[in-house]
Every structure is written in structure tokens, then in C-alpha cells.
């Protein structure tokens, strides 16, 4: 796949799979993030160069932020699912070496997570009780 095809594929995944996932993410258990927490998470996702950086951040937040532990726990679980999604969608080939596969998951994974978080934080802002 060339760059344009990859970008188009990511847009289709974002629209078809990530948007509905983000829309159904929130529950009484997850609660909602405040505006400042939401901006913090968005900035982190924007600045993280690879998926593993974001995963470490989510792990830290789970330990640190007891009020939103369930939110970060569920988000971590979604992020894990994205790794499988990358393979299912043919963005990361099974034929690649282990190292190359990890590299690709890191590179494309962060793009998917950024898309997901943009949907998720828009939903957070929309549905957060005023």
C-alpha cells in the first residue's frame, strides 16, 4: 500500500469502526473527563511519537488518577484491540519479521489512537453533564 492508500484506509477505519466505538464508550463506570484532563490526554496523544509512549502514559494515569481509573482501564483495553485491528485490516502484514511488525504497530497504532481519541473526547465534551 502506498501513502495515499494507507491514509484512505485509516480514514475508513476511523469512520466505520472508531467513531461508533467512541460513541458507545461512556458508561456510569467510565464517567467523564474534565476539560483540563481531556486537553491533557489530547495533547499527549498528539505529541506521542509512537503507540508505546501513549500506553505508558495510560498505565501511569491508571495508577495515579483513582477517580478515572475505570476510564483509563477501558481506554487501555481499546488501545490493545487496535493492535489486532491493524493486522485484520491488512495494515500490518503477518509475514513481516517480529521487529518490523512491532515497528509498524507502533507507527500506525498511534495514528489510529489519535483518531479514536478525537472522536472520544468530542463525545466526552458533548455528553459530559453540565
Amino acid at each position: 500500500m502506498n501513502k495515499d492508500q494507507i491514509e484512505e484506509k485509516l480514514r475508513v477505519i476511523s469512520e466505520e469502526k472508531l467513531y461508533p466505538k467512541a460513541k458507545n464508550f461512556f458508561s456510569d463506570e467510565t464517567g467523564y473527563l474534565s476539560n483540563s484532563q481531556s486537553s491533557g490526554l489530547e495533547n499527549m496523544a498528539r505529541n506521542a511519537g509512537k503507540l508505546s509512549d501513549l500506553e505508558s502514559f495510560l498505565k501511569k494515569q491508571q495508577d495515579k488518577d483513582s477517580k478515572h481509573r475505570n476510564f483509563y482501564f477501558q481506554l487501555t483495553s481499546e488501545v490493545n484491540d487496535f493492535k489486532t485491528m491493524l493486522k485484520e485490516e491488512g495494515l500490518v502484514s503477518e509475514e513481516l519479521s517480529k521487529n518490523k511488525k512491532r515497528e509498524m504497530v507502533d507507527e500506525y497504532g498511534i495514528l489510529l489512537v489519535r483518531e479514536f481519541l478525537f472522536h472520544l473526547l468530542s463525545q466526552n465534551s458533548y455528553k459530559m453533564p453540565k
Binding site: 469512520e15 466505520e16 465534551s125
Partner: protein, 154 residues
Amino acid sequence: MSNMENSKSNKLKLVREISIKADSPKFRENSKMLGEKASKIFSEKAQIKKLENTANFALKVTDIYNYIKRQTGKDTKGKNWRSQEFGSGLLESLEELENNDGKDICKNIDISSQAEKMQVNLLLAREFIRQLVVHYEYETRGKNNEQRSDRGKT
């Protein structure tokens, strides 16, 4: 037919289908109702212009949905996007277009690829917002003219 001619003919079919849907009574009534609502809510044109620009530059319809959600979320005092359920109403109308008209168009002109379906939904949303803005401007200008003529009388 060559590939180029084929793609040109498909584009024309799509434009025609969008125009037919945009001319349907429900489409026109909804966009008019939301445009009139917007003229009562937004005294500054900037908010509506930003919505139109977002729609015109969006790469996918969810970019527009997210913009509406964020603007509605920001309005904690219910003075504009939340007022008269403008934001949620607009979102519902666009989602309804996607679920009904968008699917119809894809069926009518035999679109099966996800990327093309996305394009159909985006074009429908743009057309809806374009009509909404036209109604907004028409109503706002009407209101301004009334105010001017009232001032002239006094």
C-alpha cells in the same frame, strides 16, 4: 467506455443523486428550520461561517460531527449551540441523512466501497449545511432590514 469516462459519468450520477435528495421536502424543511433557529441564536455570523468552513474542508463526515459535538459541549450556559437544542438537532439531522439518504444513493448508483460511501455522506452533509447557511443569512438579513426600517420610523 474508458476508465476516465466511466469515472466522470459516475461523478455526474453522484452529483445528480445528491441534488435530488437535497431538493426533497424533508431535506429542505430541516435545513430551513435549523437555519432559522441559528438566526435567532447566533447574533455573530462567525459561528455559522466556521461550521460551513469545517464542512467544506472536512475529509470525512465525522470531522463535522465532532466539530458540532465540541461546540455544543463548550456551550455550558446554553446560550448558543445548546440553545433550542440546535447542536443536537443538527447532529441528528446529519446522522439521519447518512442512515437514509446516504444509503439510498449508494444503492441507486451501485456504490459498494467504503471510501466512496464516506464521500457520499460527506457531500450530503456539506449540501445540508450549505442550505442551512443560506436560510440563516436570509433570515438574518430580513431581521436586520426590519430593525433598520423600525429605526427609520422613529
